[in-house]
């Protein structure tokens, strides 16, 4: 059987070469239109394949699956069926969309029923997120932050190369791409002020991250090894961890970031599966010192995913302000999940585990305004003649990501969000 990510596959749907969603990708999401209530879809070119309709036509009949899992507000029920089922459905969808298959393509009514233009659909949150963790796994980012806020000579804290450092984040305020984000109000204190004040954050930032979504639960007390982790990971999305730097500085000692983060995080709507990303596995950075045995892994678990951040001022054009890559991660996601579960903490279906800001070694690869402008000391010049130290009201922040090799591009689409004034 031809694998669903084989470069030789072609679809009967016309797909432009630079499109994020060729037949080798087939990411899952939740969409609705005025005539279709929320349901599971798969992105293909400019279209969405409506899996709810596909199931109604018994086109999944050889897979042992309850068709109602495609007629849901979230992917969680489908995901919880487990990796063999995700794979079977993805393989079947690949088959239906191949240029040699006529089950849908052979009938214009079928095509009309099964395909929806993405431009005519609204994408919704793909999963209900029971738990959200934000890691801190880019050594360049941790070094930059440590250099700015602590001591350049000891920028990395002593635990950093031993522990995939992370913290629990707020699940309720994770929203899908396109949702506007109000500038948060909060406490800040200037270094020379006697007391804090409350008001709109002045130092609003983004953080360029990638998050993985778990598709299999563990019991309390159970742990997962890095080599087992792939069985638990459903797929990945782009993640913007909006951050209010002035609030963060004042609140974060000793219990970590709290309200500086919980006002909103934005994700891309299409969940790209690990299977689609398989050809883009690369070796990660050398880990020295060698991690403790519970964090040891075999094979490659870093992924070559090009990442870009664009800033679009109100009425202006997109300015590319950062180009980074997910392959820079010091701690890979298998290690992150192993660490998360190493104390017996139970994993749930739909959990989101974000990478932490993904910065590279070059200045234009830093994944936050904090680092790009070096705390505002080196503002970014935009094409409309204005400059930015941090994010202004009505600015839109857009993140895009894709892997590419042998002419096959596996894309994530985008996550975007416009900042509105504080309420």
């Amino acid at each position: 059987m031809i694998k669903a990510n084989d470069p030789s596959l072609h679809s009967w749907i016309d797909i432009a070469p630079n499109n994020d969603f060729p037949i080798q990708n087939l990411p899952f999401g939740i969409f609705q239109t005025p005539t279709r209530d929320p349901r599971v879809g798969v992105a293909i070119g400019e279209y969405i394949l409506d899996l709810c309709v596909v199931a109604q036509h018994n086109l999944f009949e050889l897979i042992d699956i309850d068709p109602t899992v495609f007629h849901k507000r979230y992917l969680n029920d489908f995901i919880s069926l487990g990796r063999p089922v995700w794979r079977a459905v993805r393989n079947r969808v690949s088959h239906l969309l191949r240029n040699d298959n006529e089950e849908i393509s052979g009938n214009s009514d079928m095509i009309r029923e099964c395909l929806v233009l993405q431009s005519e659909a609204e994408m919704l949150m793909p999963v209900k997120v029971p738990n959200y963790t934000d890691f801190y796994s880019s050594i360049e980012h941790a070094t930059n932050v440590g250099t700015m806020f602590r001591d350049p000579k000891n920028a990395l804290l002593p635990n950093w190369k031993h522990i995939p450092i992370g913290y629990h984040g707020r699940a309720s305020s994770i929203v899908v791409s396109g949702t506007p984000i109000h500038r948060p109000n909060g406490q800040t204190k200037a270094p020379d002020a006697d007391a804090p004040t409350f008001g709109p954050s002045r130092l609003l930032d983004f953080e360029l991250e990638v998050a993985f979504i778990t598709g299999r639960e563990t019991k309390l007390g159970q742990s997962i090894t890095p080599d087992e982790a792939n069985e638990y990971i459903f797929g990945l999305v782009l993640f913007n961890d909006w951050s209010a730097r002035d609030m963060q500085t004042w609140e974060y000692v000793p219990l970590g970031p709290f309200l500086a983060k919980s006002f909103g995080s934005s994700i891309s709507p299409w969940v790209v599966t690990l299977d689609a990303l398989e050809p883009f596995k690369v070796k990660g950075p050398v880990q020295d010192p060698k991690p403790l045995p519970y964090l040891e892994f075999h094979g490659n678990h870093n992924y070559d995913i090009n990442l870009e951040v664009l800033l679009k001022p109100e009425g202006g054009e997109e300015n590319s302000i950062c180009r980074s890559n997910y392959k820079y991660m010091y701690w890979n996601m298998n290690q992150q999940l192993a660490h998360q579960s190493s104390n017996g903490c139970n994993i749930q279906v739909g959990d989101m585990y974000a990478s932490g800001t993904i910065s590279g070694a070059e200045k234009d690869s830093f994944g936050s305004m904090l680092e790009l402008t070096w705390r505002g000391t080196n503002p970014i010049q935009l094409s409309d003649g204005t400059e930015r130290k941090f994010i202004n009201d009505y600015d839109e922040v857009i993140m895009r990501g894709y892997s590419e090799r042998n002419g096959i591009r596996i894309g994530f689409g985008e996550v975007k969000g416009k900042v509105l004034p504080a309420l």
Copy 2:
């Protein structure tokens, strides 16, 4: 109409004077028995009133409520109906249980159908917890920890008296009383060691806390004032925030506690409503400096709830090791909820907001082993002749709480958990 917490009320059910669940209490929970699947119940004396059966007999017919909300695995659907409905149901239950009401008491079949002995029922997690925050709102606890780990002269950090400090916790591992807790494995590093090691925590601790559960959601961007907070709070439970001190010390800088906490937190199964606790409101500690306007409140929002921690070694008897009181809280729960939402973070139904360790001024009122034994330097002597610096395998930790005035005792029951060896 007589209020449901009027001291003059009596039930047709015999209730011992020291019972936690007189007719003035009426806490909500989820229970099951071999013949009753999970459903909503109200504790009354030694019994549970089965609200599912009460509804089936149309005894809620004057309340505009869908009776199926009582036939659920969690209280969330019931709670989300809002405060007027919680109150109407509680008032109706109070009416049905009064000694002058015969709708149930007048018929032995009805009594048999509606009442279940608590000793014959299993209590389950009362709510599905979408988000969990742990605050740090006892000034005595924060001072003790600051004294031990930082600087006795500057024990309280500069932000503490301005911000109700808190952090996001792990929702998935909150379990109901009686669930055993395995000692977690994790990284620890001795101060004089070159590198960390991985293995069972040696410094396992409890934290005596009270958590409130929200019953009304807000939209992203919306904030709640302290004076509005009562409309959003359904009720309270006892909360044991199990903590691995050696893991915490090594991991918590800079992003806060993570795996030192997420292996498990235990709660009492009965949710005591704010209405039941209304007579026990007391003035809180003076807040100096005056909090910022968004944290200002009117009236009293501290509650006089006696708290006790008992340690029961395997085969031994219960040793009372701590007596504290919820009234010591520096930041009250209305301020906590106002702070949580002040940046626009959305609140969800079933969210759990824990107080942080509740320590008093006296040494026997400290709410953790860390403080009671002062980092192990002053071990606790148990009645079986052994001593404890921290918690041993097979020790059971039990927390109880109640308010009492005018002969009326509003109790929480207990939260208990036995520590099992690391897996």
